[in-house]
């Protein structure tokens, strides 16, 4: 056997075995990975809408058309969650949003009450912000207080720490101003995009169909 044939044979065999290992491990872990992701997302929705007993997942497009999604599968689907209490009363919606932060993309979920036009909660889902500084947007209780009744009728924006005067302003964390401002931009952009879609379909969302 010539050296060239031998090299091709070895590389081909190694690639085949490696490919089989990768595909095999993907198949074995896929269900568990999906379960974990879905669990974390549903947990976030439950925390953002206290009293939630039932949730409906809606997919939406740019034209504002809603479709009910049977599960969370599909990475590039635009989604929102409508929450209902035990009696079936509509509590609010939870929307996914993301914005460029200091280190990388910050992904989050926020609760929006369409009748009051307020953001009633925010959670960071994924971020790579500086540990101990920017990462505090996901753990600082004072920062979380900004989102208890954040007015969405005006443009939401983050202001320098200690200078918040209006209910649509977010009091930035000192030492994490860039990350705080990214959260402000994220909410403003998302609310601007989502509120017309939610308003257009509010009756349907309230009924949960």
């Amino acid at each position: 056997m010539t050296p060239t044939v031998s090299m091709i044979k070895v590389l081909g065999t190694v690639s085949l075995v490696c490919g089989a290992l990768i595909v095999g491990s993907n198949i074995v872990t896929l269900a568990r990975i999906r379960h974990n992701q879905e669990f974390i997302m549903r947990e976030s929705v439950t925390q953002l809408l206290p009293g939630l007993q039932k949730q409906v997942i809606y997919g939406y497009n740019a034209a504002g058309d809603l479709t009910i999604l049977p599960s969370l599968e599909g990475e590039n689907v635009k989604r929102m969650f409508a929450g209902y209490d035990a009696s079936g009363k509509f509590l609010g919606v939870v929307v996914e949003a993301s914005e460029r932060g200091y280190a990388d993309l910050i992904s989050g979920m926020y609760a929006y009450l369409p009748e009051k036009k307020v953001v009633s909660g925010f959670q960071v889902v994924d971020m790579r912000e500086t540990p101990g500084l920017g990462s505090r947007i996901g753990s600082d209780p004072k920062f979380a207080e900004n989102f208890q009744q954040l007015d969405a009728t005006h443009p939401i924006k983050a202001v320098k720490h200690g200078t918040k005067q209006n209910p649509w302003e977010i009091d930035a964390i000192s030492g994490a101003t860039i990350s705080s401002r990214a959260v402000g931009r994220m909410l403003q952009k998302s609310v601007q995009e989502m509120s017309p879609i939610i308003d257009k379909n509010l009756d349907r969302i309230k009924r949960g169909n």
């Binding site: 050296p3 031998s6 090299m7 070895v10 590389l11 190694v14 690639s15 490696c18 290992l21 990768i22 491990s25 993907n26 074995v28 872990t29 568990r32 990975i33 974990n36 992701q37 974390i40 994924d126 790579r128 500086t130 540990p131 101990g132 500084l133």
Partner: protein, 234 residues
């Protein structure tokens, strides 16, 4: 004859258990971080908490053990021209497998380790062990070497993570160490804190190794003098 035997015995260096045991050798004598100063990227980037350090250490251990085992298995079949390409393919496969496993076991840990899991493929410890050991030694020894080196790496990361989390956040594995009045030294959670912690540990290990070497030299000298006096008296 007996004199000869004595002199031969005293001239030969005392055989260390770690020399014959690839596991112990990797675990302690050739610690990849504190002795060989390899794999500095994850060492500095990921050790801002003990949990992240342990998770990264275990992920690297899995990749090192698996890749050493596989590479040792195929070492006689691989032509030298495609040696590196083959090793990298095997290492990348193990990294992809560990990526799926971490994501399946714990999403929070996966998120905390972020981009550093795929970057294990570029960790110089792994290719170094493949080239220097697994490509030359039998499967069992290579596997043990990978396991020892991986656990040693995990130990070093945990040492660094402990200093950084305790001083930088006042916690250990998330549990408060100093109580609510402690003002954390945020510097230790930032990159400079990684360098400072690494310097503290490198200094500690270097001092310990130097003292150990001095003690061994002194003991060898004392032994030689003792043998000499025995020979003179005889």
């Amino acid at each position: 004859m007996s004199d000869n035997a004595v002199s031969c015995h005293s001239a030969a260096p005392e055989r260390n258990l770690a020399d014959d045991n690839p596991f112990l050798n990797g675990l302690w004598k050739q610690n990849p971080v504190f002795v060989q100063v390899l794999g500095m990227c994850p060492t500095l980037a990921i050790t801002n908490s003990v949990r992240n350090a342990i998770a990264m250490g275990l992920a690297t251990t899995f990749v090192l053990t698996g890749s050493n085992c596989l590479i040792s298995m195929i070492r006689k079949m691989v032509p030298k021209q495609v040696r590196i390409a083959t090793f990298i393919a095997v290492i990348a496969t193990m990294v992809t497998v560990v990526d799926y496993l971490v994501k399946a076991i714990s999403i929070p840990v996966y998120k905390a380790l972020g981009a550093y899991i795929p970057l294990i493929v570029a960790n110089c410890i792994i290719l170094e062990r493949a080239e220097a050991y697994a490509a030359r030694k039998p499967v069992f020894k290579s596997t043990m070497d990978g396991l020892g080196m991986g656990l040693s790496f995990a130990f070093a990361l945990t040492c660094l993570g402990t200093v950084r989390e305790v001083l930088g956040a006042g916690t250990f594995l998330g549990f408060s160490v100093f109580g609510p009045k402690f003002e954390p030294w945020l510097l230790f959670l930032l990159p400079p804190g990684g360098f400072i912690s690494l310097a503290i540990w490198l200094l500690t290990f270097a001092t310990w190794r130097e003292r150990k070497a001095k003690r061994e030299i002194a003991a060898a000298k004392a032994e030689a003098e003792k043998m000499q006096s025995v020979a003179v008296h005889a």
